[in-house]
Each structure stands twice: as C-alpha cells, then as structure tokens.
Subunit: 337 residues, 2 copies
C-alpha cells in the first residue's frame, strides 16, 4: 500500500478534478493518498463525493502556484505552495511519490529543492509520453520522450543516463518488456550529429540491458520504431510542443471545413467515429502522466488539462512505480556505468 | 537574363523531370540554363520536348551522385559529379546560381568546396520551406526554416547571422515585405533556452532592419506567427523531418480509414475537395525549393521528389534571387553587424 502525495491545487481543473480523481482511487485501489492543498476547499469537494476516508488524508496549506506563474519566482516566494509541501512530505518519508498536474517548471524545481539525485546521476530528466503508430500488436501506444525541458543542453554522459533511466521506467510502466531505445539525430548513421551524439551512440551500443536501436530521425518520431526516445531538453521540448501544436492545427482545419459547406460537414459527420478513434489515441487522460526521473523519489507530472480520470491513472502509475522499485532499478543501471 | 546551372542528374526523377522543367523555363522566360549531366541522355530527352535551344546549353559530365550515397565519400571520389561540375561553373562565373534536386549533403559540400563564404559569414545555412497556417491575407503560405542541417551546432553569432540571411532572402523571394523573424526556443521569454539562445535574442533585439518577434515554441511552428524561423541545424533537421513524417502518418491513417468501412469511405469522398486544398498547401512543387545561404553564390535545393513543375519554379526562384541581388543584400546585412 504505497502512499502518494497529490498536489490538490495544481492543474487547470484543480482542485475539483484532482480531488475527484483521488476519491476514485480510494474506492478502486488500496493506495493511500495525501491531498496537499487548501483543507476547507478540498474537504468541501470530498463531501460531495463517494470516497473511502481511511485512504485519504489532507495536508493543509493555503499557498499554491498558478499555471502561468514564473516557476523560479513562485518557488522562491511561496515556500508553502502545495507542490513544495507535497515534495517535502515525500522527502520526509511521509509519502513515497508525488503526483501533480500543476506548473511544470515549479514541479521540476520542487524536486530539485527537496529530493536528492540518485547516486551517480548528474542531471534530472523530465519525460513525456506521446501517441504514435504502433508497429506490432502489444506495443504501447505511447512513446516515452526525454528530456523535454529539465536539462536544456546535454553532454554524452547525460544522454546515456537519460537512456538508462527511460529504459528502466518504460520496462516497468509500459507494456513493453524490452523497450527499443533510440537517440534523436539528423541521420541514422553512428557518425551523425556531432560529438555529443556520436559519443552517446558509442557508449549506448556497448551497455548491457538496453535494447539500443541507434538513431532515429524526425520522420520516425510518429512511427512505432522506438519506445524510449532520448534527446537534450531544448530539442525534446520543441518536438513535444510541435506534436501538440499540430494536433490543434488539424482540429482547426476540420472545424473550418465543417463550417464551409454542407458536403464537408456531412463528410466529417460520417468520419466521426474515425475521429473518435484518433481522439482516443491522443487521449492523454487514459495514461495519467510522465515522470521526472533521476531523483531518489518519483514525481508523475500529469497534463495541465487533466481531468479526474487522468489524475486517477497518474496516481496508479505512481503507485506501480513505487511497488516495482523503478528508482532502485534506475540506481542499479546507473551504477553499472 | 541570368544564367542558371542545373544539376540534370540530381533527384528521384532525374534526368527526365529536370530536363522537362528546364525546357519549360526556356519557353516561359528569358532565363539562360546550363544543364550539367550526361549529354547524350539529356539531349535525347530534350529531343522529345518543345524548347528554345538558344536558352539551353549542355555541359557534359558522365559522373553523378545518387540520392542514397554518402555525401562525403561521393564528393571525394567523384570529382566530376554533375553537382560539382555545376558548382564549378558558377564559381568560374559561367553561371550565376545553381539548382539541384539531388543529394542534399553533396549539394552542401559542393558549395563548401567551390564557393567562398560571404565576407564576415562564419557558417553556411541550409534553409527549407514548410506550409503552415497563415494569420493574415497576403502572408506567404510557406515559412522559411534555417538551418536544417548544414551547421549542426551554433553559437549566438551563428544564429544571428542565419536570421539576417533568412530575412534578406525572404524579403526578396517571399511575398512578405517585412518578414517576422523568430528563434525556436523552449519558452517565449528572453531568458529561456540557455546561453546561446539568450545571447542571440539580445543581439537580434537591437539590430536594425530585422522584424524580430522573439522566441517561438514548438506549438507555434505550424501557425503563422513567424515567417523566418531560426535554429541550429540539428534541431531544424529534426523539426523539418517531423513535419514531413506527420504528413505521411496522416495520409496512412486516412488510407486505413477508407479501407475500413463504407461510411468512412463515403465521408472521405465527401471531404475530397478539402483534402485537395490541404494537398495544395503542402505541394512543395509549387514553390521550387529552398536556398543554401551564406556563400557568394546561391544554390536552390529542390525536394528530391521534384517534378518538372518544381524544377521550373526553382529555376525561376534562383533567377529572381540573382536579379534582386539577394547575396549582396546578405553581405550588406552581415557587414552592419
């Protein structure tokens, strides 16, 4: 029965949807949850829901960090923001992992302030998941991409460590026993991309326990070739946001088409179930979130727009990661370097 | 009447479509064309076409570089490959610019070997164009992205120079008198993205003659916010290929949907004219190609799959760039740095 700390005040739909998600967890599972946030507000929401009071406690704090706040400034001035209090709970051993749908930068800083890096790990990585085509039945519909912004620039060792961390996480959390790990590069050959990438390639080729498939290029990112995709934070951040941005553009175009003439409108209606399937594929809610890796404790960062279902799933992911010893596995992988 | 050297043997559809494109140019315009390639083959294709012989000459060479060849090896061993002979013609003043749909790496190396960098320019940039949404009537449907692979890693000065070069090119070639220039970054604030990007931002803010709009993030790349988008080659290459790869995935999904049931099939048929518009928007053929910038002479690189129409347009773009003095404008912009 792991205990998970949840930032009740983080996310576009917080605290309502966050609290709803936690209530559901208390009914579905034996996970213990600590909701960190404004006690009166949180309790009022809980009062309107079915939940198991034995599995939910509230840690009161009046401060919280908004989605649009500058993370550095907010973390410096709001010492008792819910995300920071939640991180301290975990650091003090009162909870084993942390879930938040709040300000991403603040989440990264909260970890950096209150968690220790795993022995041997030089930099933390923020991972993300994104839907892609699958190449074989049973392959996870989501690929794990890291780093997407915690570490702007990386040297070869950083990239190798990110690969090991992503590999350990994906082995435990995704449905893939031996995830295919790749570096993002501008060519598939080992010699491509400059010194940092060629060194990382050479190291990864020789490390045991990693199914390293080499470099993949931009045009392969939406395909099922790799399960864990490694790059420095600047590149990963641009790639991730580009993928999100294109989904918006397609939705825009479809909307315009529907307004433009009855023929297109009818056509779109006939395709509705197809679009539904596409929507399912891009429904981040079903997957909960993605981890910040490299610290002794795990934080699962849910999408800012997370609803109750996304929160429920994120908490389950966090609990599974705790039970399966993901951070221990990362520590072991880093130690063999 | 500028003279343009054309690599007759470069591209998936070379030499047929390349020669056809040149024949069309000789009928439509007063541009002089030198076709560089296997004379017998080129002449045989010309013989089957209508063209103006006064505007077309052939420079014979038996060697050529294939699309899949390793550029470095090929350029080293095939000293008389069509792309190299064409570059030498331009370097010797027998032609004023170069067009190729062939091996991109070989094109970059051909320039590096035979052209001088413009005084003050430190590194060359390979540009590309991609379709995006437009924000106002009259905005070019294509954005210019550079560098997409000529220079893997860049410092701040490199990025500033790329911005000036892209700005000069877009002002002349696109329909936008004052292109909006942006840096790709992981946040919109000046302080984001590490030292290289913050330095580049600070410099660009203060330079006259550039409509610098700051940083744009991945999710803005498909929108019409910026016309000239600047980044280092590794990042640009991944972004460009990701955009191309997603177009493929969408086409795949549509194909699968059509096979799956009659309802979707009918829906897709009703949307056909809408898809047609989307296809038009992504029809690179209409736009010819994108430049390698920074050298004293211009090379327009057309897409590998270029048909005759794409080649015709690329040659027109090259001629316009020569007539409008794009390289002089770049030189002037770099000089004021």
């Amino acid at each position: 029965m792991p205990t998970i700390a949840i930032d009740a005040m983080g996310g576009d739909l917080a605290p309502d949807e966050v609290v709803k998600g936690v209530a559901q967890v208390s009914l579905d599972t034996d996970i213990q949850c600590v909701l960190v946030g404004d006690e009166a507000q949180v309790q009022a929401i809980l009062d309107g829901l079915a939940y198991n009071p034995e599995q939910i406690s509230i840690q009161h704090t009046a401060e919280s960090i908004g989605m649009a706040e500058d993370p550095k400034t907010a973390v410096r001035h709001k010492r008792n923001a819910s995300i920071l209090v939640a991180a301290r709970l975990v650091a003090d051993g009162q909870a084993e992992a942390l879930v938040t749908a709040g300000n991403t930068g603040a989440a990264v800083l909260a970890c950096a302030q209150h968690f220790k890096l795993i022995r041997g790990v030089r930099k933390a990585a923020l991972a993300s998941v994104y839907p892609r085509q699958t190449e074989y039945p049973g392959q996870d519909q989501l690929a794990l991409l890291l780093d997407v912004g915690a570490t702007i620039r990386c040297d070869a060792t950083d990239l190798v460590q990110f690969a090991l961390m992503g590999n350990a996480y994906a082995r435990r959390i995704s449905k893939v026993p031996s995830p295919r790990v790749a570096l993002i590069n501008m060519g598939s050959e080992e010699s491509k991309g400059g010194e940092v990438l060629t060194h990382a390639y050479r190291q990864l080729k020789t490390i045991g326990g990693v199914n390293f498939i080499g470099n993949i290029e931009g045009n392969d990112l939406a395909k099922g070739k790799a399960d864990v995709i490694v790059c420095e934070g600047l590149l990963g951040n641009v790639v991730l946001k580009l993928l999100e941005g294109l989904a918006e553009v397609v939705a825009d175009l479809a909307g315009t088409a529907a307004r433009e003439n009855w023929r297109w409108k009818l056509g779109l209606m006939m395709l509705a179930s197809g679009f539904g399937r596409l929507r399912d594929m891009t429904d981040y809610a079903a997957y909960g979130g993605a981890p910040i890796l490299g610290f002794e404790h795990l934080l699962i960062k849910s999408h800012g727009r997370s609803n109750a279902r996304a929160i429920t799933n994120a908490i389950k992911v966090a609990a599974k990661a705790v039970r399966d010893g993901v951070t221990r596995e990362i520590a072991a992988a880093i130690e063999q370097l």
